[in-house]
């Protein structure tokens, strides 16, 4: 103990005795960190090693990969969360988030459902190159798109588009299989009836369970189709769910769906606090966004320089994260939709375009930190990773 005047303070002798005793009788610190690391690892493992146990064909363009843990343990998750696959596709090390479509109370496997995307390097790789018995590496479950019992209404309206059905499948399956006192009305938009993933299961569940209702919305139906068609207008939503006041709204789908549906919900008088949206991938066609530099071609190539001197080219229409990955530079990433900030990097010089609404911390903006998955070069850049 350091000597000091406190040794003359009233009560010092008692304190000194207490210190002496505590050093004698307290247990020693052994492996504190190990115990905690192991527990945290059960909830939030850094990495999961998965094996493809089964592949289920859902539609002509979508398959479900049923994934089991190589080491036998899959962490719990909340219906609506995703895992991020870390993989090499087309010679490029990259990562992609996929919502878990199986329900959370069974953890023998996670299902992810992959839909083919034109030029989708990773989706095509998963659909064409991955076979039963193949292995994959992923993050632990993550994301903020789930029913939160603290604030959400027990009656949910889910608006899904295309492959945006996957988080809702997990929620729907959980509600019906666990007999939860909650209800879901699903409005599910697709181009044609053939594109609808899980259609038969959804029809079947909606017949068997009172607390699940299903309204497919087909954009370009055949003449024989009698259900809802077109897009999800406020009118359609109001017609099928009747009272919007006692419900929470969840939206997941391609970017244009939010652009359309959010104003529609606003028009129905649904306050923002009762609308939850999944950040579902980086925006498509960033060069069509408001604020994109006039006259800048999406294929215009800029130079990106790293702190170690390496220089690479990057097209204006491609995110900095993708450009780095194309050149073999792996930046940790997770949601790849601008939200989680995992792929945060610093611009030492140069400018990027960031779509509106990407949640970047105020002081990050000030010092040039950007979420590289939703940052597009509009000048030559120097970046710190």
């Amino acid at each position: 103990m350091r000597p000091g005047i406190w040794q003359e303070f009233d009560g010092y002798d008692d304190i000194a005795a207490e210190i002496e005793v505590s050093r004698r009788i307290n247990p020693a610190y052994v492996a504190e960190r190990e115990a905690i690391a192991q527990y945290i690892d059960r909830l939030h493992p850094k990495e999961l090693r998965l094996q493809v146990a089964d592949i289920i064909t859902e539609t002509d363009s979508a398959k479900t990969l049923r994934l089991v843990a190589e080491e036998g343990y899959l962490p719990p998750f909340q219906a609506g969360q995703y895992i991020c696959l870390f993989l090499e596709a087309g010679g490029i090390r990259t990562a992609r988030p996929y919502s878990i479509s199986s329900q959370p109370t069974q953890r023998g496997y996670y299902d992810i459902t992959v839909k083919r995307v034109a030029d989708g390097r990773v989706s095509n790789h998963l659909l064409d190159e991955i076979h039963r018995g193949g292995t994959l590496v992923s993050s632990g479950p993550a994301g903020n798109f789930y029913f939160n019992p603290l604030i959400h209404r027990k009656s949910m309206v889910c608006l899904a588009g295309g492959s945006g059905i996957t988080p809702f499948m997990s929620m729907i399956r959980q509600i019906v299989s666990c007999g939860l006192e909650r209800s879901i009305h699903l409005l599910y938009g697709n181009k044609s009836l053939d594109d609808v993933i899980f259609h038969d299961e959804l029809v079947d569940l909606s017949r068997r369970f009172e607390n699940f209702q299903y309204t497919p919305v087909i954009e370009a139906p055949t003449a024989a189709y009698t259900g809802a068609c077109g897009v999800m207008t406020g009118e359609l939503i109001r017609d099928v769910v009747a009272n919007v006041d006692d419900k929470s709204f969840f939206i997941c789908g391609p970017g244009r769906m939010y652009d359309f549906c959010l104003p529609e919900l606003e028009g129905l008088g649904v306050p923002r606090r009762r609308i939850r949206r999944e950040m579902y991938g980086a925006p498509e066609n960033i060069w069509e966004f408001e604020g994109w530099p006039r006259g800048l071609d999406k294929d215009h190539v800029f130079a990106v320089k790293l702190a170690d001197g390496r220089t690479m080219n990057a097209a204006a229409g491609e995110s900095v994260l993708m450009a780095l990955e194309r050149h073999g530079v792996v930046v940790p990433s997770l949601c790849r939709s601008g939200e989680c900030s995992m792929c945060r990097i610093k611009l030492a010089s140069g400018k990027v375009f960031q779509p509106p609404g990407v949640p970047v911390r105020k002081s990050d903006r000030r010092y040039g930190w950007v979420h590289s998955c939703t940052a597009y070069p509009i000048s030559d850049l120097e970046v710190l990773i």
């Binding site: 000091g4 304190i15 527990y39 019992p149 603290l150 949640p359 002081s363």
Partner: protein, 497 residues
């Protein structure tokens, strides 16, 4: 092999100021951080349209430009002061109970005394005497320690010698009989992490003195703005930082640090290592046992891990006034109990009648959250250990159950607030374990019992040559002490290079 003058492990408050202080003095410094962002607890995260402040409630020690506190002077020297905007918080705190008790204390000492005397007329004289004691005690502390009196004595500093090692509860019991008054006067125990029965009176006196003298502050952009500003200074001065890069091992030979091995297995040599990690982690995990002197382990054994916290980060779609929130710092009090019963509450999972603090930054800084909204950080202290007993698959259920208990407390005092929640995130002791990596999710380093109070702390020095500790594990916790610990470390380490 890469080589640096100094490697700093951890970019929390202490690690950041140490790294920046050293880089500004010309040292070649590498800063390692296992997370992807600087700050440690001094950070923020985004949900929807909100950016939530994680840890800072009332910044102490700053003072005004005319009357600067030590922290302001330190940040100025570091070159970050002009980068930041501070907002003075006009209230010391507000105490509220479900049955309608309301007491708002302003930050002026005389006004505090007058307000309390009006609310507790029977304790009028006792209050005057107690406030006199607080003032004299602070004067004693400053004379003896801040100005480092070379010849201190009991005659010069009678209050210091008599009361420094008493518990806060003991002193309050001596002066007062009204249990409500005692509870109102001791709410700041929450900023130290041990109840008044175990906390040194010194802390209670000095926290009051600090906030009345130098005022509590809020930082525009939150504590992340501070962390980012310090990191920016570090980088501008040639410092190298690696995020997503934890330290796995500190190599020691002949009682001297030699290198750090990162989690990716790279060995980097350095003459000095600054650890912003806990001594528990450093001495039991990072350094081979055979290089750790027995005296260190014995010393360590005498200390216990402090409490963790349970926090709700709430984004409301209303202005504070519409919710009935009129002060920045609100202690929601369910009982006047300041006995060891507090410890029992901290050791159970559920939230029923524990003291809760609700900080609403938008009251002092209306631009903090988007227009028409505000955010609240609602926290109570909870030990981490019970959380490790929850089966992982039940974790979310328990988390929501506890959060629900806390929301009921908020709703009791701010009726209707719950219906205006747009975003909510729950931080449990496990969240702190995950992000801070502290054993037991401790947020205040080692437990600050009276026997571990400022005079008896481990300090930043290690018997291992070239190893220095900074941050809350080496001394007092909270923003001001941890920031200052790094500044002081930088000053002393530069002399050894």
């Amino acid at each position: 092999m890469a080589d640096y003058d100094v490697i700093v492990i951890g970019a929390g408050n202490g690690g950041l100021t140490a790294a920046a202080g050293l880089a500004r003095r010309g040292a070649k410094v590498l800063l390692l951080e296992r997370h992807n962002i600087p700050g440690g607890a001094a950070t923020s995260f985004c949900r929807g349209r909100f950016e939530f402040e994680v840890a800072l409630h009332q910044l102490s020690g700053l003072g005004s430009p005319e009357k600067p506190g030590l922290l302001r002077l330190g940040l100025q020297k570091l070159g970050v002061l002009d980068e930041l905007e501070f907002v003075e918080i006009s209230d010391l705190y507000n105490v509220m109970t479900a049955d309608g008790f309301r007491l708002t204390l302003k930050t002026d000492r005389d006004q505090v005394l007058a307000t309390l005397q009006e609310a507790f007329p029977a304790e009028r004289t006792a209050l005057a005497a107690y406030f006199d004691l607080l003032a004299k005690f602070a004067e004693n502390m400053i004379g003896a320690f801040i100005f480092r009196d070379p010849e201190p004595s009991r005659e010069k500093y009678p209050q210091l010698y008599a009361h420094a090692l008493r518990t806060a509860r003991d002193v309050l019991d001596e002066y007062f009989s009204d249990p409500m008054l005692k509870a109102v006067l001791s709410v700041y125990w929450g900023y130290l992490g041990v109840p008044p029965t175990k906390m040194a009176f010194t802390y209670l006196a000095m926290v009051f003195f600090q906030y009345c003298e130098f005022k509590p502050y809020h930082i525009k952009g939150g504590s992340q703005a501070l962390s980012n500003a310090i990191l920016n200074t570090f980088i501008s001065n040639g410092g190298q930082v690696r995020f997503n890069c934890g330290a796995e091992h500190i190599t020691v030979s002949d009682g001297t640090v030699r290198s750090v091995i990162t989690e990716s297995g790279e060995e980097i040599t350095a003459r000095q290592v600054v650890a912003n990690a806990s001594p528990v982690t450093v001495y039991t995990q990072l350094i081979d046992r055979r290089h750790v002197p027995q005296e260190v382990l014995t010393e360590l054994k005498g200390r216990r891990l402090s409490t963790s916290a349970f926090t709700l980060y709430i984004g409301f779609d209303s202005e504070p006034a519409d919710l009935g929130i009129t002060a920045s710092t609100n202690f929601l009090m369910a009982t006047t109990d300041i006995s060891d019963g507090i410890v029992d509450r901290m050791q159970r999972l559920d939230i029923t009648d524990e003291p809760v603090v609700l900080s609403c930054y938008d009251v002092s800084d209306p631009g903090f959250s988007p227009p028409g909204t505000c955010q609240a950080n609602v926290v109570t202290l909870k030990y981490g250990e019970p959380w490790l007993r929850i089966p992982p698959e039940s974790y979310n259920d328990v988390k929501y159950r506890c959060a629900d208990g806390m929301l009921q407390r908020v709703e009791e005092i701010f009726p209707g607030a719950r219906a205006r929640i747009e975003e909510i995130e729950v931080g449990t002791p496990l969240t702190h374990m995950r992000y801070l990596g502290h054993p037991a999710g401790s947020i205040y380093g080692f437990e600050q019992l009276t026997k571990d109070s400022l005079f008896f702390q481990p300090g930043r020095h290690s018997p291992i040559d070239g190893l220095t500790f900074v941050g809350g594990w080496s001394g007092d916790c909270g923003f001001e002490p941890t920031l200052n610990s790094g500044l002081a470390a930088a000053k002393s380490i530069i002399k050894k290079l």
